[in-house]
Subunit: 225 residues, 2 copies
Amino acid sequence: MKYTTPYMPPTLTVDAVIFQLVNNELNVLLLKRLNDPFKDTWALPGGYNAEGETTKAALSRIVNSKTGVDIDKDLTYVEQLFTFDTIDRDPRGHAVSVTYMGFARDISESISKENAALFPVNSLPDLAYDHASIIKYAHQRLASKLTYTNAMFAFLPPTFTLTELQLAYEAIIGRELDKRNFRKKFLSLEFLEETNEMRRDGAYRPAKLYRFKSQSLVALSRSFD
Amino acid sequence: MKYTTPYMPPTLTVDAVIFQLVNNELNVLLLKRLNDPFKDTWALPGGYNAEGETTKAALSRIVNSKTGVDIDKDLTYVEQLFTFDTIDRDPRGHAVSVTYMGFARDISESISKENAALFPVNSLPDLAYDHASIIKYAHQRLASKLTYTNAMFAFLPPTFTLTELQLAYEAIIGRELDKRNFRKKFLSLEFLEETNEMRRDGAYRPAKLYRFKSQSLVALSRSFD
DNA sequence: GCAAAAGTGTTTGGGATACACCCATGC
DNA sequence: GCATGGGTGTATCCCAAACACTTTTGC
């Protein structure tokens, strides 16, 4: 690429906030840095975006090589989050980071690097760069998204009980919900359909299993009038 | 900035979708390109983001130099929209564009370049690059934002009548609203306060003037339970 | 008095909230 | 029969939607 005037772009990086539920706690995938800056500090997986590579392709490449997780196969939903660009966010120099938020059912088997691990968002270690605020922003967006979309499909297994669904909601939005109201409301949204199966796994009444009608994002429209 | 491995970032650009109401039509600020590619075609104002410059600073610099509009003084609201990064969106080579959406009350006096002009979003000329889809995306986000925030403060003058408010809504969301329901609902949101003034400007009943309580964005929370 | 825009109220249906007990099962 | 989690219903309140006439003013 040629420029008519001298031009030097900032470094372009990508970072991923990958969420997964573990024992009804919202977890995020982190990587302990092997090099300076922030050597031995935990950070979001991310890296440099080369010319000729889309940000999502760079993300796939980097997350896969650094953690073993395959964005395309292991994640059930991905969306662009925000682009962070303050000058001093990277001590090495100006780096603009395009961040993504991804959801997964279970990436624990795919995590193949020793320095990659899942952490509960409510008890994160100290984080490198501005990554703590990026995670906070992503968590808010996720919680908001759950109120008007079927995004929870991306966290749950193909079939699940209504109690499991409710516990997943509570884990992410951080407060308890009323069982009867939750069921009434969620069923009325018509995101779910019943299966013919039941879950029986204890000395108590078996539970009906449900599934999401759609395995891709569906949003309810908010309208004004 | 040094890299431990050979590294070349894509070009980084910024583009602005600046909206303003003109005669109760939503308009967007465009610039007729003076050079190839897309010479003589209309496009969003934008340009190169240099190292050491935040995307918003680059936007201010570029929009001001190319159109005369001062982002900081002329716009009443600005937010980051999305980062577009497909490889072939710029025929000169891979350019990643961080886009912003801005709202203004009246920038017509500030537009000082011959090749800059406002166009109604419903009758846009052919546009360069992927700018038509960027404007469409921004318009949708704006319409959605109006349903749960006071964002309209950024388009209207400090005081206005309820009819003017309703016409502005209708212009942006693209359909008519019921006058009684609109007033009831909007007043119940408590974004507005009455002034003591009235507007009298014709052979008919004068209208009360209102103002927004806040001149910065306030969002209603959507909750699940 | 008439033209033009401002302003106003009621009914109805559906969703949000609050709240507590019975059901099915394994042991 | 008891412990455990699954499953359900009702009353109240508020908001959304539909819908048409009266008021104020300048001329």
